[in-house]
């Protein structure tokens, strides 16, 4: 059996980090943790964030990926979701946690199986010592010329409060650092190890910062060290697979061919607009009309418009029927205009003005009178028995009334379309039957 003695290419050393920088120390402790755990390097993917930490990549004898600043956790999540058998790491600085904090919180919340090692040197080392989200109060950095006024982000508390299953904080002086990291790797879910270290290029010289100051700072901020949370729970990528296991192998939604069992004598394009109220199945009825037309050998399109609040306001739907393929689905003027409910009347006003005597307005009789040049057909929903109160079927009934009035194609095509739509088929068929007495009068 292969024994993995190192996950670092020792021949490439020394590390390129500044003298006294903690990055090399942390990398060596990650290596030590992996050697303890004996994980096949081909199953390891290390995702590196931007910053000095990214320089670690050239030394790794595992798979690695250098992405964009702050997004390392998202790539790591994608890798884990696609292949839960991989051991996925994120090596990031405090800069990466700042710009990508949302991703860190969400990965913790999901308990995504990623081990995040935070190389926390309290400032931006690569770009010139600017302050980061973890820079303590009163620090001197290149971008806090007039004092540092911000509270540092408690990364550990944040992820621990939001579902991370393993959280530890320590410093590069901790002799047990590799054990803390190894425990994080061994945890199947989301782990984060926050390692405080020196940036000897900027933070240390600018703040007269040493080991004593680091430890005092942790105390002053009340940032505890050691294992802060160890609470295993199901890892996301595996939990997802478990949740969907019953779906595997089930047939995907098949194409929905419509057999043209009926014919139509329609010789030209006809635009039917149904204007009604949101939540009243306007769209559903319009789609049924379109499907029915296809079942009668016609071409059709159906488009709709409704406000973002789907249960209030108007709902309007345009159906174009034609013996030729409908290439342009827009409607500049309806030939048939169905208006139901006060919201529908308000929305239909611009259309009403365009109607000519050759067009027909099908009007909810409660909304009459309406001024229009079109022929008017009044629909009296008071005469529909049980459907008087079932307003969500009125649009289907109105569609049936249009077909009864205009004979665009047989009513049976509509009934077939309803039968082929599994939901509420019986009620809709009953609504079609009840539409017989709907037409009150026509002018």
């Amino acid at each position: 059996m292969t024994r993995w003695t190192s996950y670092i290419d020792e021949s490439r050393k020394p590390y390129p980090f500044c003298p006294g920088c903690g990055h090399g120390l942390i990398l060596d402790q990650i290596n030590a943790a992996l050697v303890k755990l004996q994980i096949d390097p081909r199953t390891i993917v290390v995702v590196l964030d931007i910053g000095c930490v990214s320089l670690c990549r050239e030394f790794l004898t595992t798979n690695w990926m250098l992405g964009l600043h702050g997004r390392s956790v998202t790539y790591a999540s994608g890798i884990k979701l696609a292949n839960p058998n991989l051991k996925v790491f994120v090596l990031t600085g405090d800069g990466g946690v700042g710009i990508g904090g949302n991703h860190v919180i969400n990965a913790a919340r999901r308990n995504m199986g990623i081990t995040v090692v935070l190389f926390n040197n309290l400032n931006f080392g690569m770009t010139g010592g600017e302050h980061s989200v973890t820079t303590p109060p009163d620090s001197i950095t290149s971008t806090t010329e007039y004092g540092h006024l911000e509270q540092p982000l408690d990364v550990c508390a944040t992820v621990a409060a939001n579902g991370a299953s393993y959280v530890a904080r320590t410093t590069t002086f901790d002799e047990n650092l590799s054990d803390l990291i190894a425990a994080g790797i061994a945890n199947e879910g989301f782990s984060l190890v926050d390692v405080w270290e020196f940036c000897t290029a900027y933070y240390v010289p600018n703040n007269r910062y040493g080991r004593r100051q680091m430890e005092a700072m942790l105390e002053r901020l009340e940032f505890r060290t050691g294992v802060l949370r160890s609470s295993p729970r199901p890892e996301y990528s595996r939990a997802y697979r478990q949740a969907v296991a019953g779906e595997a192998g089930r047939p995907t939604r098949p194409p929905q061919p419509i057999e043209a069992r009926y014919t139509s004598r329609l010789s030209r394009r006809v635009a039917c607009v149904i204007s009604g109220a949101a939540g009243k199945k306007i769209n559903t009825a319009a789609a049924l009309l379109g499907r029915a037309a296809v079942g009668a050998g016609l071409w059709a399109t159906q488009r709709s418009d409704y406000p973002v609040t789907v249960k209030t306001g108007y709902s309007i739907s345009e159906v174009v029927l034609s013996p030729e393929r409908v290439c342009y689905s827009g409607v500049t003027k309806p030939d048939l205009l169905v208006v139901l409910f006060p919201e529908g009347l308000a929305r239909a006003r611009p259309h009403l003005d365009t109607l000519t005597p050759a067009d027909t307005l099908y009007l909810d009789s409660r909304l009459a009178p309406v001024q229009t040049a079109a022929r008017q057909v009044l629909l009296d929903f008071g005469q529909t028995g049980a459907f008087v109160r079932k307003q969500e079927y009125w649009a289907t009934m109105a569609v049936a009334a249009v077909l009864r009035d205009r004979h665009l194609f047989p009513l049976e095509a509509l009934e077939d379309a309803i039968r082929n739509q599994s939901s509420y088929a019986e009620e809709n068929l009953a609504a079609v039957a009840a539409s017989e007495g709907l037409i009150k009068s026509s002018t």
Binding site: R42, V45, S54, E58, T61, T62, N63, W64, M65, L66, G67, L68, R71, V73, T74, Y75, A76, S77, G78, I79, K80, L81, A82, N83, L86, N102, H103, N106, Y240, E247, A248, G249, P251, T252, R253, P255, Q256, P257, I258, A260, A287, G290, R291, A293, V294, L298, W299, A300, T301, R303, S304, D305, Y306, V308, V326, C327, Y328, S329, G330, T332
Partner: protein, 373 residues
């Protein structure tokens, strides 16, 4: 046999038929139906569909999954595409195959979220830093949504590149009757991966336009992927010659493949002095306008550009060669017209028919504003 289908369903079905097994996205009108479709359907084929915390994460997860061997789809609209921008750059740089559907809506920023537009046409091409080429396909109808999504998967694998399906609210949301025998079923082959028994150098190529062979994370090889300039081993590149090799390669693999990528639908009429060019949703209106003109005994040609980027220059030049007048119809204020203008000769007049009020361009508007009747 006909089907009554939305573009969104056609895209989702095409993705499954093309072997897609990973989707990550964030809800956004009008792309949400694709997210819903994938959430429901992908587990049935053993895939993963995921709603991420934002679009930055959506595309990041797609990149990670694609590098781990998945065949990846995501779908968004303009505001989401804005957030995808940085990682589109990474996908170009690291040569990550994925299909991105942009369901365009009207206007900048939030715009008119539930109305249609085609304002992302230049943004899709130039939407990330560096300016390197991508492939953009624009479906004219639901059948195109199916066929071009499948084609996009093929092209994304072939070129290791994000390939865009540039559609719009109208096309994805409108139900329309389609003839089912127009669906194409060209197979999308499995990804060409490096053989297990040979050494693998992640980005080794023989000539600038060659596309390097992938090996997934977790496979037989150690894989290195970088958004920072890299040499053939994936390590940091800094010598001018290495940088030049990388950047010219990223351009050459697309630029030198115009013939392979180019797709147009030409309806040319001999003797016609006017060519009406369109793409996407307006192509249907152009088809009806052309039908009307010819019915009246007039002569006019129509050209639907399907592969918007790279611009199919030869096909467009061929189509407009004999024209005096070129009418470009689009649901923006003339974004693609500038591409046509640079291909037209001095004696050819190029005019636009445009609309940015969320309403579709009608055949009558094309005839009137295009000066065709």
């Amino acid at each position: 046999m006909r089907e009554f289908i939305t573009g969104a369903e056609a895209i989702g079905r095409a993705a499954l038929d093309a072997g897609c097994d990973f989707f990550a996205g964030y809800p956004i009108t009008p792309a949400t139906p694709i997210l819903l479709y994938m959430v429901k359907e992908l587990p049935k084929v053993g895939g993963v569909a995921f709603q991420a915390e934002d679009e930055l994460a959506s595309i990041g997860m797609c990149i990670g999954a694609a590098l781990s061997g998945a065949r990846v789809l995501t779908a968004t609209s303009g505001p989401g595409l804005s957030l995808y921008s940085e990682n589109i750059g990474l996908a170009i740089m690291a040569e990550v195959p994925m299909v991105i559907v942009d369901c365009q809506r009207l206007g900048p920023a939030t715009g008119a979220a539930t109305t249609t537009g085609e304002g992302d046409v230049q943004f899709l091409r130039w939407g990330t830093s560096g300016g390197y080429p991508v492939i953009v396909l624009a479906p004219a109808d639901a059948v195109d949504c199916y066929n071009l999504t499948r084609r996009a998967f093929y092209l994304s694998e072939r070129f290791r590149l994000p390939v865009f399906v540039a559609t719009d609210k109208e096309t994805v949301a409108t139900l329309s009757a389609v003839e089912m025998d127009r669906y194409l079923h060209e197979p999308v082959p499995k990804r060409n991966v490096a053989p297990a028994d040979a050494d693998h150098v992640p980005y080794r190529i023989g000539h600038p336009a060659e596309v390097p062979v992938m090996s997934p994370f977790g496979g037989p090889h150690l894989v290195r992927v970088s958004g920072a300039s890299y040499n053939e081993r994936g390590s940091r590149a800094w010598r001018p010659a290495e940088l030049d090799r990388l950047n010219r390669h990223l351009a050459a693999k697309v630029d030198q493949a115009e013939d392979e990528i180019a797709l147009v639908r030409a309806d040319l009429q001999p003797g016609a002095r006017t060519v009406v060019i369109s793409y996407g949703i307006s192509s249907g209106s152009v088809a009806e306008a052309v039908r009307l003109v010819r019915r009246e005994g007039g002569e006019v040609s129509g050209l639907t550009v399907i592969s918007l980027w790279p611009v199919p220059e030869q096909a467009i030049r061929d189509a407009i060669r004999d024209a005096d007048r070129v009418v470009v119809v689009e649901m923006n204020l003339g974004q693609y017209r500038r591409e046509i203008e640079r291909l037209a000769t001095d004696r050819q007049q190029v005019v636009g028919v445009n609309r940015v009020d969320g309403e579709l361009i009608s055949p009558d508007q094309i005839l009137a504003e295009g000066g065709i009747l």
